[in-house]
Symmetry: C2
Subunit: 199 residues, 2 copies
């Protein structure tokens, strides 16, 4: 065969996206090339700019454009509490309750042993580094999802926190089982935060 | 609010892809930025190169990098038969049967009235232009999908072809109803091609 055509290279590149197979890639490529070439160029530029300018916050591991994100740079936050969430969307849900003034750590994932995602890929290793260097933390608040994977992650983090002599708490089970924080109503989240209990 | 961050711009750009909502976009962005930055840059480059170099074949409407695609440029193909398919994948399935030596027209879509996709977006208008300028065509072979939308498209194309005085045929209904050509076994496709009938 001759070298792959531009269309074939685009189809291959789209299939590197998670959840995108051959059919979805074809649908995306045809749509962009026939109906939204501006969208294709906007996506190309956004990808380049993100790769060049987005990194992990040196303190909380979320994705941001600075060395340290705005939340971590806020001196008014209580450094003795560290709340561990899976994603920025989960963090935003907690912030919207207006009832938490401590700091955060964003895993940017969770342990998924069945997919081969261990502590390295899930941000747990980065959390360990944070805890080993941040002497101000006294309480580790586990706010990972109340799913099987989120619970497994919380279990590992609880062991980690206790081994370092920290108080370890988990959001109260007022959060409905099987759901993800991002979609829970604020009152329930606030209640679960107030009722957090030692693990 | 301040201007959107690079991450927010990436999330917005990903959501211009068909079938990608806020959750999928976040999953894609986090995956690329944490685990596959090379993939992100490869996708950015593939998008740019495709936008710059991929166009519709002036003859059959498929996506290609030349003024006219390789299939259309082949003088050995029978110019009196024009087989209309929805996608390059459908065309490739017909080619693999090895039983068709005529020419093709690739709609790059199909009529989807419920989504507001009429003749313009579905390539039907481009087919009309082809038929009005290509005096060699005598038979129009309709090989659109045997789905509701594909049948509706075939119905419109049959009227169009007859109004232009062409013989109009449809692949025989040996193709299982509700399926799409790309996934049908070659024997069934070959049989349906041999049994094509006037509409
Ligand atoms: Zn931070
Ligand atoms: Zn062509």
């Amino acid at each position: 065969m001759v070298a792959a055509s531009r269309l074939e290279r685009l189809l291959a590149a789209l299939q590197r996206l998670p959840g995108v197979g051959a059919r979805s890639a074809a649908r995306m490529a045809y749509h962009l090339l026939q109906h939204d070439r501006d969208g294709a160029l906007a996506l190309a530029q956004a990808l380049r700019e993100a790769v060049e300018g987005v990194r992990h916050c040196a303190s909380c591991h979320t994705l941001c454009e600075q060395e340290v994100c705005a939340t971590c740079a806020d001196p008014a936050r209580d450094a003795s509490q560290l709340c561990v969430v899976e994603t920025p969307a989960d963090q935003a849900a907690l912030e919207r309750t207006g009832t938490y003034r401590g700091r955060y750590f964003v895993l940017m994932g969770r342990l998924r042993p069945l997919d081969g995602l261990g502590p390295e890929a899930s941000g747990v290793r980065a959390l360990l580094q944070r805890l080993q260097t941040d002497a101000a933390v006294q309480e580790l608040i586990l706010a990972t999802s109340f799913t099987a994977e989120g619970e497994a992650t919380a279990h590992v983090l609880a062991q980690l926190g206790r081994s370092l002599g920290l108080r370890v708490t988990r959001l109260a089970r007022g959060v409905p089982l099987g759901s993800e924080l991002e979609f829970v109503d604020l009152g329930t989240i606030a209640h679960a935060l107030a009722d957090r209990r030692p693990t």
